[in-house]
């Protein structure tokens, strides 16, 4: 049977009710607690060993994260070469574009991701996008587009003709587009 200890003053009470001093915790009566403490300590040590084994080596190098992640993320593959890369070889297109309304439109915005082509021009050839779809994306009239932005209702505007009939994509002047040479590399 357990002793009913009562509120916090219990120990005090027992001591006074125990004039022969039997109530002295002998070591052997608390020995099982020492055993328990030993088991807990063992568990704690195990956790420490696990820590040293399983925490990634670069963790904490730069902050509270795996330092190696920075390099991993930085080295992901690039798909868009960036307009500076295109301009190295295609300078004559750049000359035409610079003078017109599309000066600020980068090459890959229309031509798609061409990092592979920039790395090895022979590998992937230029894929010319469909102008009817491409031009409409930006220039089809929409109430939410800024009022100053050139936009048309293509059905009314061109009566079904593709945009290239009248507009040169690199410099969209309203005049017959000159016949393009295929390729265009310097």
């Amino acid at each position: 049977m357990k002793y009913d200890l009562g509120p916090l003053g219990a120990a005090h009470k027992i001591r006074h009710a125990d004039p022969h001093g039997v109530y002295v915790t002998k070591f052997k009566d608390a020995e099982h607690l020492i055993r328990l403490a030993a088991v807990v300590l063992l568990g704690f040590l195990l956790l420490l060993v696990l820590r040293s084994q399983y925490i990634p080596k670069s963790f904490g190098e730069f902050g509270f994260y795996r330092g190696a992640a920075l390099a991993e993320i930085s080295s992901k593959p690039i798909n868009y070469a960036g307009h500076q890369a295109c301009e190295v070889c295609h300078s004559e297109v750049l000359e035409i574009k610079k003078a017109g309304k599309h000066a600020g439109v980068n090459c890959e915005a229309c031509h798609g991701p061409l990092a592979k082509h920039a790395d090895d021009p022979s590998a992937e050839t230029l894929k010319l996008p469909d102008t009817a779809v491409l031009c409409a994306r930006c220039h089809e009239a929409n109430l939410a587009k800024p009022k100053t932005f050139p936009q048309v209702v293509s059905a009314d505007h061109s009566g079904g003709q593709v945009c290239k009939t009248c507009h040169l994509p690199h410099s969209p002047l309203l005049q017959p587009a000159p016949v393009l040479q295929s390729g265009g590399k310097k």
Partner: protein
């Protein structure tokens, strides 16, 4: 996925599933059961003593199941050890790993061990076969069950229970904190969240132990100690009033202040969340049990009717608290953070985070409890019979 109005594109799919509803429900039961146990140990409510050991075993059963819904939910459960290896100290979730470990080791297991040590030692000597090895292992090699040793156990057990009370609050309160501290989500973000979670946990835990006690006594064909059950029901009633008041306070203040999120949340409660919040949680899960328990406090109701009322009220309470977890977790993800739209939660029957798994997780603790009761009987030795299937310590 059906969306009403506008949701940010990445918000349409719910992130935290029913697994994250089951989880606080289970830890809530742990905390609540433990608080009931502490009523006797610390606050000397003698009347509930028959449920002391049962409450401890119940807490352990649910505690062992608690990590399972989380593991099922994680994208990479095999990496979950990272929470112990590199816990981010600003993350409440990371700190939980240690609170759980603390609660399991330093509170529940320790208290059960100290409480049952005498039986464990006796059974390690009297039982045969594999059970003998189990008990022998549990003794940790010590067979000292002298009066002095037992007195030490009692004192230490008392301290453990005392520490266990704030630990229980921490165990479940932190879940409330995880939700309450997310400023991005106005359905969750309130300082009241940890408090509401703790009180609803106490309600569910007390109700669960009460139901288990009555059920087990019926199964064992033993008389139900009415003084015990009446006292538990009383505590349930008062705790419930506190819990309900806190939830109503949150609701009323929200309605009164009507900040930018209010219109959206209000609409959600009246439509998508109507059944689970108003009908299931508030009316069926709170008001009905409160009224039933309240009537018993005021009027003299005969024993048989009281028992039936406790059983029904207990069940409704458990359902109501589950609904509360659902309303918090799922409800918090049904509306857009733009306050301009709503989405739907698709709960699959058969999936890693589906209905069947949820049901299984909710049944599992009872299976574990049944096993635990066979190993460490919560019933007084003089009432044990062959049906309990437990070798009686010291029996010839």
């Amino acid at each position: 996925m059906p969306v009403n109005g506008f949701m940010y594109p990445n918000e349409i799919e719910l992130q935290w599933s029913v697994m994250i509803v089951v989880y606080p429900f289970v830890t809530g039961l742990v905390a609540g059961a433990f608080i009931l146990a502490s009523l006797e140990r610390i606050f000397h409510v003698e009347a509930v003593k028959p449920t002391y050991r049962l409450a401890l075993l119940t807490a352990l059963s649910f505690l062992l199941v608690a990590p399972l819904p989380l593991q099922l939910h994680l994208g990479h459960p095999e990496r979950s050890l990272e929470m112990y290896l590199t816990p981010h100290t600003t993350s409440a979730m990371a700190m939980f790993g240690f609170v759980y470990l603390w609660y399991l080791m330093a509170v529940i297991l320790l208290e059960i061990w100290l409480e049952y040590r005498k039986e464990i030692v006796l059974l390690s000597q009297s039982s045969t076969g594999p059970k003998r090895w189990l008990y022998k292992a549990l003794t940790l090699g010590s067979t000292n069950i002298s009066e002095g040793a037992l007195r030490v156990d009692d004192k230490v057990g008392w301290v453990v229970t005392l520490i266990g009370i704030p630990s229980a609050f921490l165990l479940h309160g932190y879940v409330g904190f995880i939700f309450g501290s997310i400023k991005a989500n106005p359905w969750w973000s309130t300082p009241l969240m940890p408090v509401v979670f703790i009180f609803s946990a106490m309600v569910s835990g007390i109700a669960m132990v009460m139901l288990l006690y009555m059920a087990m006594m019926k199964i064992r064909k033993q008389p139900i100690d009415m003084r015990c059950v009446d006292t538990i029901a009383q505590y349930l009633f008062y705790t419930f009033i506190l819990d309900f008041s806190l939830e109503m306070l949150d609701l009323i203040q929200r309605i009164y202040e009507a900040d930018e999120s209010f219109r959206s949340l209000d609409f959600m409660v009246h439509t998508k969340l109507y059944f689970s919040q108003v009908v299931l949680q508030i009316i069926i899960g709170t008001l009905v049990p409160l009224a039933a328990l309240g009537v018993i406090q005021v009027f003299n109701i005969p024993e048989k009717i009281r028992r039936a009322t406790y059983a029904i009220a207990g069940c409704l309470t458990i359902i109501g608290i589950f609904a509360m977890r659902w309303n918090v977790v799922i409800g918090g993800q049904l509306f857009s953070k733009s306050f301009l739209g709503y989405t739907t939660y698709k709960l699959n029957l058969i999936s890693r985070e589906g209905e069947l798994i949820s049901a299984a997780l909710l049944i599992l603790p009872f299976i574990i409890l049944a096993v635990l009761m066979k190993i460490l009987s919560p019933w007084p030795a003089e009432t044990l019979s062959a049906e309990d299937g437990v070798s009686v310590a010291g029996a010839q």
